[in-house]
Amino acid sequence: MKILSPNKSLFILATALALFTASCGTVTTKTYTIDDVTMVAEGPLFDGSNTLQATVPIDLKNLEAWATPENVEKVTVKSITFTTTDSIGFDRIRSVIFQVAADGAQMQQAAVLNPVPTGVSSITLNPALDADLKDLFKQSALILVADADLNGDMDGNLEYKAKIEFEVSLKD
């Protein structure tokens, strides 16, 4: 068996390391915020689960000028907050399940709040820790879907403002 000289071994090791590092690329993590989105369920609404929806475009250039769908490595939910100016607040809601969908990717359950506290004008949901929304962020638009469990019938619309923060890892 031929033994390589220390210099040659060092050169091979350095080359391998350089190739490995180049293939890995640099991962940048940024917060993508969707703010002030109005989510609506049109009435009349009935006791039980009712769906509020909104469609929002995705523009990765808001994160980095070079970002494209191919650069998206991982996406997790950082925080989701709903607010309302309605005097009844969230008193009509027992629970909220929040999902994100898109025509070209699978729906992901992103957060839940159960039970919903009464007498408040703002609620913060508990994000799904295992959910990776990477494929959804490769689409041009997201469909935000909130299933609110109503504790009675309602004639009017159910309308909330949502603020969602996603943690997006981009690989260059």
Binding site: D103, N114, D130
Partner: protein
């Protein structure tokens, strides 16, 4: 000239066919009951795909806690407080024609597993729901009945 006419004809017919296909796919929308009769599932359309959530449970409360049943078998521990009533167990079905919806998944709250799934409409009020792992042959079919019969 003949070619131009053909293109014009295709351009006119294509949207009509696409609309007809969408309308046919929407036949899945409604409230359905699995064969065990323990739940009712409302199927609706979000974007271009179909999703189904539990809207009624025969036994809505957990016998141990006496509280509404939760998704306690979810593999993601952070989501085990999700109530089963309202849970989306059918996701991402695409209508592919001939009374068939594919590319979707079905979730089994009894064990926390998600399976690939195909829906076939046998008649306007009967569905074959086939959940499977890997290939379609390795699966189980359940028959679901429509609750509110649509007028013809």
């Amino acid at each position: 000239m003949k070619k131009s006419l053909l293109f014009l004809l295709i351009a006119l017919i294509a949207p009509v066919l696409s609309f007809a296909q969408a309308a046919e796919g929407d036949k899945l929308i409604g409230v359905w009951e699995p064969s065990h009769g323990k739940a009712r599932v409302k199927i609706e359309k979000i974007g271009t795909k179909y999703y189904g959530k539990i809207v009624w449970l025969k036994e809505p409360n957990d016998p141990e806690t006496k509280q509404p049943k939760l998704d306690k078998n979810n593999t993601d521990a952070s989501q085990r407080t999700v109530p089963l009533k309202g849970y989306r167990l059918l996701k991402d079905f695409v209508y592919t024609g001939k009374g068939e919806w594919t590319e979707g998944t079905i979730y089994d709250p009894e064990n926390g597993n998600t399976y690939k799934c195909i829906i076939k409409m046998k008649d306007d009020n009967t569905l074959d729901i086939r959940g499977y792992i890997g290939v379609e042959a390795l699966g189980r079919t359940d028959v679901w009945k429509r609750l509110a019969v649509t007028s013809k």
